[in-house]
């Protein structure tokens, strides 16, 4: 077990000019064999490893990562956390994740800066107003703490919003989840990595998977750039690159990889203390603790592996947000970046077993994976350990595409979420 982070360890290390901090995780060479190997050290992969070790006592496991941990979509999102989805299976998994976020910092002994500052989803057309009302009813039946708010309340929560009733998309109200918010995405990856590592999990970076070894219908190992690793259980959690990995095992996926962009402005004084999502005009915004406005929008409409998005998509997002928040029109943007998201037809994730024995997949989180990291890792670890889908993961199996049993969130959250 690693020394715990605390105010005392901080003070002690300050005395030594912070020269003696222990490394948060090791960088071991891969062993020849593991009980299970997770491919992809993003938030979902590391959370899976963490819960495998913590809840299921599987510590002889590894997480292999092509680049550096948390360097993919985990470090590229806009850190929004909410659970107010329309469909029951979605509510169950996203709410599990959101509730785990509440005490994740204590659980991991790592400050993930979860900030339940509230998520406000604007209703800017009559249709959207009704759709969110329907979601509100569904969420209340499921016991979620959410409510509709009036335009006057919206203005009170977000004073900088454009409340002109004569604009093209006036604010007709909003759907509010006060317990939603943001977190620090890097810290989530780092905290899970440190937690898993301290229980004996090997997190192996710069180790690209080049092949999946099968014997008949079973997996027996992985070929990587650091040699062959024998294992009977493989969990693939590679988001935008899930199709390329699954192709190695001969499993075709209902996934298309597209680029989703985000950007931040120059830092300014606090102007907005919640997350605002404007789905009709395609944009969402919050303010980081550093003062930057964090902005995201929709994906490019075509496949892309380059982590660089198209300018029209960005322009569209900015146009929408300038309409919604006229005050930001003169702000300069500091950085922009893209992440490759794995889109499914129904915009819901895929979690569970595959036709190949010992091969498990957790992907398809598309544009909304960050908020789900703890819940996703929790149920996926259970699925791998017990070789059957966790009850919350069960509706998200690959077989739903054969049975036509879709979990349609694409209409409920028309924009990226």
């Amino acid at each position: 077990m690693k020394p715990r982070y605390s105010v005392f360890s901080l003070a002690r290390n300050a005395m030594n000019y912070h020269k003696d901090w222990e490394r948060a995780w090791r960088s071991p060479a891969p062993k020849r064999e593991y009980d299970a190997v997770i491919v992809g050290a993003g938030g979902h992969g590391l959370a899976t490893a963490y819960y495998l070790a913590k809840n299921h006592k599987m510590t002889n496991i590894a997480v292999v990562e092509k680049g550096w941990l948390g360097g993919g979509n985990t470090g590229r999102n806009t850190t929004i956390i909410r659970s107010n989805y329309l469909q029951d299976p979605s509510i169950a998994i996203y709410e599990l994740a959101r509730s785990l976020y509440e005490d994740l910092a204590q659980d991991l002994n790592y400050n993930v800066m979860f900030s339940p500052r509230g998520v406000l989803m604007l209703c800017q057309t009559e249709h959207e107003f009704r759709a969110f009302k329907r979601t509100a009813h569904a969420n209340r039946l499921a016991g979620l703490d959410c409510r509709m708010v009036t335009p006057a309340e919206v203005k009170e929560i977000v004073p900088i919003i454009n409340d002109d009733p004569n604009c093209r998309y006036p604010i007709l109200g909003a759907y509010y989840q006060p317990r939603g918010g943001t977190g620090r995405h890097d810290a989530v990856a780092w905290g899970y990595a440190r937690g898993a590592d301290s229980m004996g999990v090997d997190v192996i970076q710069n180790c690209e998977v080049t092949g999946i070894q099968r014997e008949g219908d079973k997996v027996v190992g992985l070929e990587t750039t650091k040699g062959v690793i024998r294992t009977k259980k493989i969990g693939v959690v590679t988001a935008g690159h899930v199709s390329t990995i699954m192709d190695m095992a001969g499993v075709r996926m209902p996934i298309e990889s597209q680029c989703l962009q985000a950007l931040v402005s120059e830092p300014i004084k606090p102007v907005i203390d919640c997350v605002v999502m404007a789905n009709t005009v395609h944009g969402y915004m919050s303010q980081s603790d550093k003062g930057e406005l964090v902005i995201g929008g929709g994906t490019d409409p075509y496949n892309n592996y380059s982590q660089r998005g198209s300018f029209p998509a960005l322009e569209h997002t900015i146009t929408a947000l300038v309409e919604t928040f006229p005050i930001i029109s003169r702000l300069r943007m500091l950085r922009m970046w893209g992440g490759i998201v794995d889109m499914t037809g129904d915009r819901s994730p895929i979690i569970g077993k595959t036709p190949v024995e010992g091969l498990y997949v957790n992907c398809g989180w598309g544009t909304g994976g960050f908020k789900a990291i703890p819940g996703s890792g929790y149920v996926f670890a259970d699925t791998i350990a017990n070789d059957r889908p966790h009850p919350i993961a069960e509706p998200f199996g690959l077989n739903r595409f054969v049975e036509g049993r879709l979990i349609d969130e694409s209409v409920a959250a028309a924009v990226a979420h």
Partner: protein
Amino acid sequence: MLVLKCPVCGAEGDETDFHAGGQAHVRRPATHDPANVSDDEQRDYLFIRHNPKGLHFERWRCDRGCGKWFHAARNTVTMEFRAFYGITELPPAELIAEAKGPWAEYFAERLKSESQA
């Protein structure tokens, strides 16, 4: 910004002048043999998608030109367009030869079935 050229009317423009229509060459099984469509075939048709990192084949529509759908071959890493070709056509032979993975399998099967017919 992607720059495209419509093979039908010859109009050139950027991606905002065209509409991306997803994967090319998706065939509806019920069109060919309505009586014998398995659940798996229907799933493949509706949901399974080629998602290569590299050479990809897709449909686009000439939105602000002739309005016709056409095909394009594009690299999903470099974003470079390799060819534009008609909606009823297969890609140029050299690109078929270059295709990998599921696309290579698809073209092999397609060419085999067409040579038999």
